[in-house]
Point group: C2
Chain length 332, copies 2
DNA sequence: CTGAAAGCGCTTACAG
DNA sequence: CTGAAAGCGCTTACAG
């Protein structure tokens, strides 16, 4: 690959002049400009982003940290991020943490050694104090999907609303014995969904039954085992609200294996509107989140933080969610 | 963030000495070493990878190019790649092409400006001549999942075998009118699967019926519409082999919507063994590919290419596939 | 064993 | 408008 030096030689000018015509950071005589551009074209010269980054203190690279690549909520969000970044010449380097704090800290260190200009993190748990520290150092961070507190910029969905809407929907269909399969309470998003659901119940005067609350470990397996437990209750719940589509899929598997039909015997509502949720039989009624838009927004925010860091107060953007009615719930 | 200069000052040595103790590129007196290490610890110094990269011509960064983030075959492969890379301090920067050649070329240019040490590409189509050019320049490239020709290192699955095994399985179950829903013939992998399937048929003396061959466009929708066509045949096929799980999901949706049962009325075999395929009802019989292992292998190969570029002949690693029997095929 | 110097490929004051 | 010089944060011959 040719360097700025090669171009300067071929064009018969100094490297300063080459740099100036390429960055248009200072006026260059039209004739000189042309000579330089020709040389650039002939040599197929591409400026070295790394060298430039070292000089100007901007790498034009962002870090993205997610808990794991296998989770299906991220592809759309990543797409949103990269689409927003494309216009600005930014690249994304990524890492997954498996929700391991130590690993996450190492990852962030590695990213900073690489001079990333900012970080989009989709990993915040209650223990994520290191993120606060980054922010205090003035390092641009925005949280995506997972919320920590009001001190760090974040782009999240309205999880409380999602829990409420899902619960309310089932209530309106006439159900009162509703199973609730939740995820880890380490995550604010699950606490919010839970609280929204509870409030929907109390608003309708339905008493809370602790035995109908099940904790679903990660992935569809979590939903499967949680549902198995719920099925052991007598009488078992007439409807189930799972706080992620994979958990719903697992629950559905458990229900089918028990020889029951959805929605005839049990109704189920999921959460996420994964592409897959429309493909099962019956198609899953679920709470949809605008992952793509949230990704886009996160990218925009991080660029803002990078370009004018004067802002002090963090802003948390909360996107509305949407109930998507399909075939997994019946009228009671 | 502190620099090597800060460390040198604090330790009372030259920056050369700091560099040497940190890279252990030359002997340093134990006492000096300790002083340096202390200073490093106190300042929480992290060497700047970008600066180092510029000097030594290695960025410790790899590019990964895939057609799109939404495709579900990549998460496992990416996981394999990053797991293999972790031990070597390599990071991944990624891009998606939407199978757009121009965009891919731009992406690669951008990556090279960023001095990535090598590229893992999962995008090769028949038009990917630019990849050959990279390879000729001596730039490390390995193809993943998608094959181009024997001139570039690649890690792929045995797609011919997959087509053959799937076809043969259905034949052994007693079916002869088998629909085949394929993907784009721009991709070698689909040509291979098709050819494997055809050979399974001819080996059993089953005549090829062009009307049973359907082309499925991208995603589950492709499988859905292809199946709709197949369903219009009289008599319609008694079994269907879809060359991707999403296509199979779409086909299944179409079958269900026609009021038919799987496998009672039509048997179906998918391809990929996506996590999801075990969650539908009935669970999908499919051809499994070792995505994670292939990702790992691709990472290993690219590191090899980077570290000893003496090798001239390309090596194509072909991983075996596996038929995973579940509930979507009946005995005729 | 250690330091001063050169240099990776750029950008950007500083002179002219 | 243009060039020579300094410098981003490192590594690595070159001297000693």
């Amino acid at each position: 690959m040719s360097t700025i030096k090669d171009v300067a030689e071929k064009a018969g000018v100094s490297i300063s002049t080459v740099s100036r015509t390429l960055t248009s950071s200072a006026p260059v005589m039209e004739e000189t400009r042309q000579k330089v551009l020709e040389a650039v074209a002939e040599l197929n010269y591409q400026p070295n982003t790394v060298a430039r980054g070292l000089k100007v203190g901007r790498s034009k690279t962002l870090g993205l940290i997610i808990p794991n690549y296998q989770s299906l909520v991220f592809p759309d969000a990543i797409k949103g991020i990269t689409d927003a970044l494309d216009d600005f010449g930014y690249n994304l380097v990524l890492g997954d943490t498996y929700d391991n704090l130590e690993r996450e800290e190492q990852l962030i260190e590695g990213l900073r050694m690489r001079m990333v200009d900012g970080l989009i993190c989709s990993t915040a748990t209650r223990t994520s104090t290191h993120l606060l520290q980054l922010k205090e150092e003035g390092f641009p961070v925005v949280l995506l999907l997972r919320h920590l507190n009001e001190d760090i910029d974040a782009v999240i969905a309205d999880n409380y609303q999602g829990g409420f809407v899902g619960g309310n929907y089932l209530l309106n269909k006439g159900f009162t014995r509703i199973g609730f399969i939740n995820g880890s309470l380490e995550l604010d998003l699950y606490r919010q969904r839970y609280s929204g659901f509870q409030n929907a119940l109390s608003a309708k005067g339905v008493e809370k039954d602790q035995r109908l609350m099940a904790h679903g470990h990660k992935g569809w397996q979590g939903g499967y085992y949680a549902m198995l437990k719920l099925l052991n209750q007598k009488p078992f719940p007439e409807a189930v609200f799972a706080t992620s589509d994979p958990k719903a899929f697992g629950a559905i598997k458990a229900i089918h294996e028990s020889g029951m039909q959805i929605p005839q015997d049990i109704s189920v509502v999921g959460y996420d509107n994964l592409e897959f949720s429309q493909l099962i039989n019956p198609p899953l009624t679920t709470i949809g989140q605008p992952f793509y838009d949230m990704g886009r927004m996160a990218a925009q925010k991080i660029l803002e933080l990078i370009n004018r860091d004067n802002r002090k107060e963090a802003i948390v953007d909360k996107f509305p969610v949407e109930l998507i009615e399909r075939g997994s719930v019946r009228e009671k």
